[in-house]
Symmetry: C2
Subunit: 281 residues, 2 copies
DNA sequence: AACTGTGAAAACTTTCACAGCA
DNA sequence: TGCTGTGAAAGTTTTCACAGTT
């Protein structure tokens, strides 16, 4: 119904976004990660089979996913790693990078500012805010924590495209409202509550406890089928369990990672501490 | 295949787990959160409509989801909050609580130990380990960081049911292997790489960057349709946008949260800093 | 020969709409 | 009357299998 004009010279992502299934979008992000890894290792061409294995999906699904972006590969050959990567970034709207503003300088907020996985994937944290006078003015990973009251000014000045909410539960809706009022259109919240926002604003929520609960469920289900596998419960097991990672195509050394046997991954993947799990004391 | 005996007096979750769809399991965790909120507010009975709205799904879906757990409500009346809650916890295997061991005492690891949302939902962090000599021995939220080398001993002693990996990318597989060798069956990883583990071990991965990338995609899609909504980009917008949160059934005060208009939530929801976004200095 | 791109089938999820119960 | 529980319809996602290209 909202059949607006097609914006001839506007966005770069061509005209296909419209029909890309949600599920596919989530996986595109995963493919991007694998492609980055391959590129780092100097791999120039991948087949759908190799890429699929490395991403933990089957190759038909991967090809179908990519087909939504138009033709990307060469039949009989495979996909050009660099080209495919650029194409996916373009479609996901990542080509120009994103400026991220973080509200909530608690433990989680600080973990995220320092989080190298963001910068590496084109997300730059440009500002961090909090409401606690104790915290305002303190430096966090090269940024100074500003007062949430300054939010409109900060937004005008920093021009973020994405906001991340890491404040407690009961402050989340208020922060969300302020972000919306300041003109932000994309919000990622870590607060365990639904947030109300106008339909034009995209809000996503990440709930760590749900992941744990799903794990709990799977374990219960498994426990039901196999009485008790009698696990090695003590001792000094070093590395153990180097599984037989052998598929038909040994492929490039970069594809070592591959062959997820049971991983139920739904979407994202974080990169915790930046280099060596060092606690900055 | 693997048609073992049914363990007569073992688990409490009845015999239904088997056929509960994945998508339903993810939502059960959400319902649980809402039910806890209602219980806190003294609500004793909810209708599917109220609960659904508060959880951000439609009521038919909610009823279908609950129907997989057997009859839970009373026709013409609704669901008993306490009873339903207990039933879901039982099915998800949460009734006995979970003991969680955390590997990686970096920023993210520390954010999670302190994270009240876990304890409140039945997950107790019983141990935290790292490989960095700088960090080993330091206290974190009431626990002392132990050496990963001690992992088998720590596992034998603490008897965790779930492990969380918050170490960097390149250490993740090694840690995973050690956890498996120590007998852990459920692993939640924040490292942005696929982990290889035996099929009997359940591994889930959370990737924060994927969530951001999905946000990015949605924004691009929206931007394409609406030329430019001309957002209020500066000024001093205070709280603004108190949306018209009016549905037909005003219901209990506890149901304020409700009415998510566009939230694309897929699963979990975190609760960042424990009380007031205070940075423990 | 090798590998992509894709229609068509199968599987899964959501929504509808109403029978059945308090 | 009011609300749950559920079969059957509609919609979405995954998988299959093969035609098409280099």
């Amino acid at each position: 119904m909202t059949e607006q004009h097609e914006a001839p010279g506007g966005v770069s992502g061509r005209a296909l976004q419209k029909d890309i299934p949600q599920a596919t979008v989530a996986r595109l992000a995963t493919y991007l990660r694998v492609l980055a890894m391959l590129a780092d290792d100097g791999v120039a061409i991948v087949s759908s089979e190799e890429l699929a294995v490395a991403a933990g999906v089957n190759s038909a699904k991967l090809r179908k996913d990519l087909s939504f972006l138009g033709p990307n590969g060469v039949r009989g050959v495979g996909y050009d790693v660099a080209k495919l990567r650029a194409r996916i970034e373009d479609v996901l709207g990542l080509s120009q990078g994103h400026r991220v503003v973080l509200v909530g300088a608690g433990n989680l907020g600080r973990a995220l500012v320092g989080y190298g996985g963001f910068r590496r994937r084109g997300f730059t944290v440009v500002g961090i805010l909090d409401s606690d006078p104790e915290v305002i003015g303190m430096p966090v990973a090269g940024l100074v924590v500003r007062d949430v009251a300054e939010l409109p000014a900060a937004v005008a000045e920093l021009e973020p495209t994405i906001a991340v909410i890491t404040v407690p539960d009961d402050a989340a809706q208020d922060v969300c409202d302020r972000l919306v009022a300041s003109g932000l259109q994309s919000i990622l919240s870590f607060a365990p509550c639904e947030l109300v926002a106008p339909a034009t604003v995209e809000v996503r929520r990440v709930d760590l406890a749900v992941e744990m609960q799903m794990l709990s469920f799977e374990r219960m289900r498994n426990a039901e089928q196999a009485p008790l596998p009698e696990v090695a419960h003590a001792g000094s097991g070093r590395i153990a369990h180097r599984l037989p990672t052998s598929h038909t195509a040994p492929a490039h050394p970069a594809l070592q990672h591959a062959t997820t046997p049971h991983t139920t991954t739904s979407h994202t993947a974080t990169e915790p501490s930046s280099k060596g799990s060092v606690v900055t004391p």
